[in-house]
């Protein structure tokens, strides 16, 4: 197109520095005047001379088009003077002056039109560039790229569009700081993302925060203090800051800067605002979906931990390990530790993840929290603590070699006592500002889990104590009965038989009476024996589980196939529990199962005593159906064991019990 000069010598003359541009224009103007003069000289032979003056417009108009009305006026003057001196007949000064006026007027109109046209072209080009930049950013946002990627794209697009040397995107934080989340520059310098400065130290960010509106700083003010040392170092002379407003709140600020004090035309703010609006929408969406995702993740992890806590018996360590394993990724941390505080001011590592020096953080490792460390602060204040080492610099010995830049810890408070702490650490910049809050949500769940497991443990222990006490009482009762009443009745029976043997044969009636009495005593003894057997099986204390179970199997009306792999005695509570399970299960088989055959197998395996009672009866036994199994659950669970009853209708009953042999 005619107004669009490609890169060439001509465009140099059109767009170069003013002086050179001017000189070029003048040169071309003079050339054109020469050409027209030659043309006029040729045509002069055939046409009326005065009419030819109009041909000089051919020289004036192009100059007016490209170099403006000033140079065109000079060319007009040159044209008229050349015509008058070389071509025109005498006494043509009047028409020449008129022609000059016409030329200048024409030049003015043409130059004005051309400039307007050029302005609209430039504006439309800029708009097109802006629109396509906005479209690119919008596409990225719609694709759901990571916030970092989006922020980088926005700073780059704004920088290129505004002809800036440097663009930064900062996010305002609670506590009066602004953190750089993205930066772009065409200057050879490195701008670390994640650096954090107080708002008051950077004038543009501060003014934007104060006014909530775009701020422009240029000249010496831009260099001195506006962008701080960075602006000074880079020679920044002009900066504009525009707010990023999300959901009615000031989220952050975009700052464009340039070395050229007049780099930014007046409409720059407006153009940046188009981007910040888009950015704000994207940020709102991204934060909403991120919060949603994060929430979902957190919920999932918390659910897993809670499930573990509910399932795990007296041992909270699976819960602790799971939390340590999950929390790092969840909170965007590189390392995580879970510690229990001891009464002597030390802390015991329960679980640790992600640390380079894992040896000092093994489970059970003791450590005296150092100052300054977040764990020490939690221990001292029972509150969440944060230390960003990028700021304070000095690291405690426990963190040496870890390259940790930020640490956050929160207390685990179990039933209003400070129980321990969860700490996380990052090697890449500061942990997000909401880390404490999210960590607290976690420590609370862990605390509940620990409280649960502690109370479960206490409950199991007290249940075990109650059962053990009851067992001891029954054993004593049985012994008292045996050593007292039974013993004396046995003596009585023996004595009666002795007396009977002394009686002379001529008194058969007396002898028969004594025999009957002895028989009575034996019958009472039998009744007493049944009674005491129900209280406590003597053979269990006398001979242990093996003989006791053999006796049980032998006495059962339903044939029992017995498999025993036991080679020594076990703790009273274990033997009694196993005996009662077998006894109760066999009783049920006899009473309810209508079985022809039962099986009893006991063995010691993997630190557990395993017992299996099964029959080929009708099945359908229910725990709560008054079948007597309920009491066994208590007994088995009090020992930290497990009991599984399966009794499908028509397919027999199967009771499986595992009792840990190490005391809980």
């Amino acid at each position: 197109m005619w107004w669009r000069q490609e890169n060439s010598e001509a465009s140099e003359l059109l767009t170069g520095p003013p002086l050179r541009r001017w000189a070029g224009g003048a040169l071309i103007g003079v050339g054109l005047v020469g050409l027209v003069t030659a043309l006029v000289a040729i045509l002069n032979l055939h046409l009326p001379t005065r009419a030819l003056l109009i041909l000089y417009l051919l020289a004036v108009v192009p100059v007016a088009l490209w170099w403006g009305v000033g140079l065109a006026a000079l060319v007009s003057a040159l044209s008229v003077i050349t015509f008058v001196l070389l071509i025109a007949p005498p006494q043509s000064e009047g028409p020449a002056v008129l022609a000059f006026a016409v030329f200048v007027a024409t030049a003015g109109v043409v130059a004005g039109l051309a400039a307007g046209l050029r302005r609209s072209v430039r504006r439309s080009e800029e708009l097109a560039a802006e629109q396509s930049a906005l479209r690119r950013v919008a596409t990225l946002a719609a694709k759901g790229v990571s916030a970092t990627e989006l922020f980088e794209a926005v700073t780059r697009e704004i920088g290129e569009l505004c002809g800036a040397d440097l663009t930064r995107l900062g996010r305002y934080e609670d506590g009066g700081t602004v953190v750089r989340v993205a930066a772009w520059t065409r200057l050879p310098t490195r701008l670390p993302v994640g650096s954090r400065v107080p708002v008051d130290e950077t004038r543009v960010a501060r003014d934007v925060l104060r006014t909530g509106a775009p701020v422009r700083v240029s000249g010496a003010a831009a260099t001195n203090g506006a962008g701080g040392p960075l602006a000074r170092e880079l020679g920044i002379r002009s900066s504009i800051g525009c707010p990023v407003v999300t959901g009615g709140e000031l989220w952050g600020v975009v700052v464009v800067s340039a070395r050229n004090p007049r780099a930014f035309p007046p409409e720059t703010e407006e153009r940046i605002l188009h981007f910040t609006e888009l950015l704000a929408t994207a940020v709102t969406n991204a934060e909403a979906s991120e919060a949603l995702l994060r929430n979902a993740d957190e919920q999932a992890v918390l659910r897993r931990v809670a499930t573990l806590a509910a399932r795990g018996g007296a041992d909270p360590s699976p819960v602790v390990r799971a939390v340590a394993a999950q929390i790092g990724a969840l909170l965007g941390a590189d390392c995580a530790s879970l510690l229990r505080f001891e009464s002597d001011g030390t802390a015991t590592y329960l679980a640790a993840r992600g640390w380079r020096d894992a040896s000092r953080r093994g489970p059970g490792a003791r450590w005296r929290p150092e100052t300054p460390s977040v764990i020490e602060r939690v221990l001292r204040t029972a509150r969440s603590a944060r230390i960003d080492y990028a700021e304070t610099g000095e690291q405690p010995p426990s963190l040496s070699g870890e390259d940790v830049t930020s640490t956050v810890a929160s207390p685990i408070v179990v039933e209003s006592r400070l129980w321990g702490s969860i700490g996380v650490a990052s090697r890449t910049g500061p942990l997000p500002p909401d880390t404490e809050e999210r960590l607290v949500a976690f420590t609370e769940i862990v605390a509940i889990a620990i409280a649960n497991t502690e109370s479960r443990a206490q409950l199991a222990a007290s249940r075990a104590r109650v059962i053990a006490a009851a067992d001891a009482t029954r054993r004593r009762l049985e012994r008292d009965l045996h050593d007292g009443a039974q013993q004396r009745l046995v003596s009585l029976a023996l004595e009666l038989r002795n007396v009977q043997a002394e009686i002379p044969d001529e008194q058969p009636g007396l002898s028969a009476d004594l025999g009957r009495l002895a028989g009575e005593v034996t019958a009472v003894l039998d009744e007493l024996r049944e009674l005491s057997r129900g209280i406590h099986p003597a053979i269990l204390s006398e001979g242990g589980l093996g003989p006791a179970l053999r006796t049980l199997a032998r006495r059962s009306p339903v044939p029992v196939e017995l498999t025993l792999r036991l080679d020594h005695r076990y703790a009273d509570a274990v033997e009694v529990a196993a005996y009662y399970v077998a006894s109760e299960a066999l009783t049920n088989t006899v009473k309810h199962a209508d079985a022809t055959h039962a099986r009893l197998a006991v063995e010691e395996r993997d630190g557990e005593l395993r017992l299996l009672v099964s029959d080929d009866g009708r099945g359908g036994a229910i725990q709560t159906g008054g079948t007597g199994l309920t009491g066994l659950y208590d007994r088995v669970e009090a020992l930290g064991g497990s009991i599984v009853v399966s009794s499908p209708a028509g397919d027999g009953t199967r009771v499986e019990v595992a009792l840990p042999l190490t005391p809980v």
Partner: protein, 107 residues
């Protein structure tokens, strides 16, 4: 009482002991034909004593019979697992009961 019952039946009671140690000494000194061992030997176990008697003289030892105030049914597993020749309930204790067990053991 038990002694009188036994002696009336023609058995001579050559000695009585109340502890494992004493019992082993007496058995060594008196060489009885039959030893009656109460399962409940105070704080000691009659089964232990039976094992020690059997271990002392595996081939030429006395006949050992376990006795108890408990019924045979309650201790049968332990009796059969021990080297004892048999069991007699104390209320049934008589010379004939002892002879029956010894006779059964010799068959």
């Amino acid at each position: 009482m038990a002694r009188s019952s036994l002696e009336r039946g023609g058995l001579e009671v050559v000695g009585t002991a109340t502890t494992t140690t004493q019992a082993l000494e007496l058995i060594g000194a008196l060489r009885p034909d039959v030893v009656l061992v109460d399962i409940a030997l105070g704080t000691e176990s009659g089964f232990d004593l039976v094992h020690r008697i059997a271990a002392a003289e595996p081939f030429a030892g006395p006949h050992v019979i376990l006795i108890s105030t408990r019924r045979e049914d309650d201790v049968a597993e332990l009796v059969s697992a021990s080297p004892a020749a048999g069991f007699v309930w104390k209320a049934d204790l008589s010379a004939r009961a002892v002879r029956d067990v010894v006779a059964a053991g010799e068959q």
